[in-house]
Symmetry: C2
Subunit: 388 residues, 2 copies
């Protein structure tokens, strides 16, 4: 890693100390690498002899290679063909990357292993974040593994499993009568007064580095090619922008063909909380904050994501789109995924299945395109959605 | 695979048709292999180029190599050092294999991928099993993946997450006011009248083949050595006997040193349901069926396991032991594991932590021995145990 750069104003920041957002414009920072040095140090074939965790992409992750990461064995999740679901939807080449096979059963572990490893290495003595659900459990787990105290603020209507996992791992959990935005404000204030390091989505630069490994793994599992379309359930959006960053890096590294087209990135949200979809449809470079955000897909309950510009830019640059699904439809589609393929996923994944159906109907998706769904977590944490 | 042999009377059975238990003595059957042919066909080093699912051990699994398995990406779970927990217990080399990183968040997936793959290949048209918890969810998932109808009987007090996951995957779930033994009788009768194939633990020969891959992975992850001691939470006991079988096979294959000592296998149960512990302490070759089996660790609620002789033989032959832990102690130890290492595991895993403490105290375990805990599933399915 060579440093950190603002995603909006390009101001450079030092990577050898704890950083949050850009000191000039308060926008997210992103890690830069000496890609020529990496391409000399490691080849695609070298990876075959490494273990299957995301730390196999060590040279493209921010932690100094002489330090041990804070790891629980995250990454290396299966990319599965979904033939029955595909047939039922009318897609010939449908794949799902099942992120439930992570230590705390969601994709949040990828971001947290990177962020907590870096925070510990750079001297943080305690960690804090707001969470709409899975991120809280993940931060609690990696904080415990690192031996650092953790403070989490969650909305009162967060799934009970998320509260439980955070509490079991010893985190201090505060329930707030509000959205994740209110939780974020609460954490921000306390972090300042108490000296906690705030690892909120995109308010520190390394969760996105962990999340981008979904893109590295996808390319490797597809034999160093990319699919035509990626559907991604979009809350904070770290994975969406992270994967696009990974694809660019892999082209520079020569791991992907330099002329390879990036997949069309499709942001899928819930009709009750669709800031990115509304911003996209309005032709804006900013998200549109909903008045009363609500959806049972708690990971999508992010009304004002700080990465909205970065996401909208990524969607447009890749020729993608953005689409919102109502709760009844996404829950039924989650049931269909379980029945058709034996994968009991989080309702965010059901939103993707329903989005496929609608995009096929509108012609924005073709039956012969290779489509990858990111199944971001396990349905086990969302029992309230299905038992009612 | 060369055939099937009875574990008690050694009667040979054909492997090219659906088989249940021994036609002579009704005891479990076990798969035999031509190990010389396998050792010519594949070496340890060949494995390094294969993907990380348990099907990497393809030649030592029963499915014909020209058939596709029914897979959801199971196996390849992380073997993690547990330094903080080890220090707190007084063990220098404590490791945990986290089986929660499987498609349905437990070790049951290993058995089901093998059993369902074989059942489909041999012509089964529907599948059935009783389940104390996780096996039901796993069977439902693999049945859905295979496109086969699934029938599951569970005790009424099974964790609600296990019911939910089975129902989501489209299984027909019947709740029985009784133990898993009562569920097993119900399934056995219906299977006969309805033509369901019964995949109850050790009543068909292939779940143990899938489970044995825990032993293969462990050896590979330890650089083709074995630990001194393995602690295993013992319900049906398939993994306990399966791993011992795997170790013997690997010695024959030359993958392990032929003089390598097998780990001492320790069966850990709950005081409310400890048939194997009581049989072990009584010096019997049979388990002792408890009168009113009860424990919050639902996977241990197996009062009369059909594999009792096989388990007791394995424990004695490896110089192991058996120990029971009460529910309060195992729940508190589950909390300690989560706080110390960030792993929110099923309470069966807590029983192992508590067992370590007691065995160290009694001198049956030494501080410098390498000890592996099998963390068989995720705590997310046991919210009732922790929320009360």
């Amino acid at each position: 890693m060579t440093g950190l750069r603002c995603t909006e104003c390009a101001a450079e920041h030092e990577a050898n100390q704890l950083q949050t957002v850009c000191r000039e414009c308060s926008m997210p920072l992103v890690a830069t690498y000496d890609l020529q040095a990496v391409s000399r140090a490691v080849t695609r074939d070298d990876l075959r002899h490494r273990d299957s965790t995301l730390w196999r992409f060590r040279e493209m992750l921010p932690l100094d290679t002489d330090l041990d990461p804070v790891t629980l064995g995250e990454g290396g999740t299966p990319l599965l063909e979904l033939p029955t679901l595909g047939r039922n939807l009318g897609l010939h080449r449908l794949l799902g990357k099942n992120e439930a096979l992570n230590p705390t059963a969601s994709f949040k572990d990828r971001g947290m292993t990177a962020a907590v490893s870096m925070a510990r290495a750079l001297g943080a003595s305690s960690l804090a974040a707001p969470s709409a659900g899975n991120a809280g459990g993940a931060l609690a787990a990696y904080g415990a593994r690192a031996g650092l105290p953790v403070h989490i603020a969650m909305p009162v209507d967060v799934p009970s499993a998320n509260q439980l996992e955070a509490q079991m791992c010893g985190a201090n959990v505060t329930l707030i009568d509000g959205t994740i935005a209110d939780c974020g404000r609460w954490i921000g204030e306390r972090a300042k007064s108490e000296g906690w390091f705030d690892v909120s989505t995109l308010k520190e630069p390394y969760r996105v580095e962990g999340k981008k490994t979904m893109g590295y793994e996808l390319a490797e599992q597809l034999g160093w090619t990319l699919p035509d379309v990626i559907l991604y359930p979009t809350g904070g959006g770290t994975g969406l922008v992270g994967m696009a960053k990974a694809f660019e890096e892999m082209r520079e590294l020569g791991w992907l063909d330099r002329s390879a087209r990036l997949p069309r990135m499709v942001a899928v949200q819930a009709t009750g909380c669709a800031p990115v979809v509304d911003g996209f449809l309005a032709g804006s470079d900013r998200g549109v904050v909903p008045e009363a955000p609500h959806t049972c897909a708690s990971g999508l309950r992010v009304p004002g994501p700080i990465g909205d510009r970065w996401m909208l830019r990524t969607i447009r640059e890749t020729g993608g789109t953005a689409i919102a699904i109502d709760d009844d439809t996404l829950l039924e589609a989650t049931r269909q995924l379980a029945r058709d393929e034996g994968i009991f996923a989080a309702p965010e994944a059901g939103a993707l299945v329903a989005a496929c159906r609608q995009l096929l109907k509108s012609g924005e998706l073709r039956a012969d395109e290779q489509v990858v769904l990111f199944l971001t977590g396990s349905g086990l944490k969302y029992s309230e959605c299905f038992e009612a």
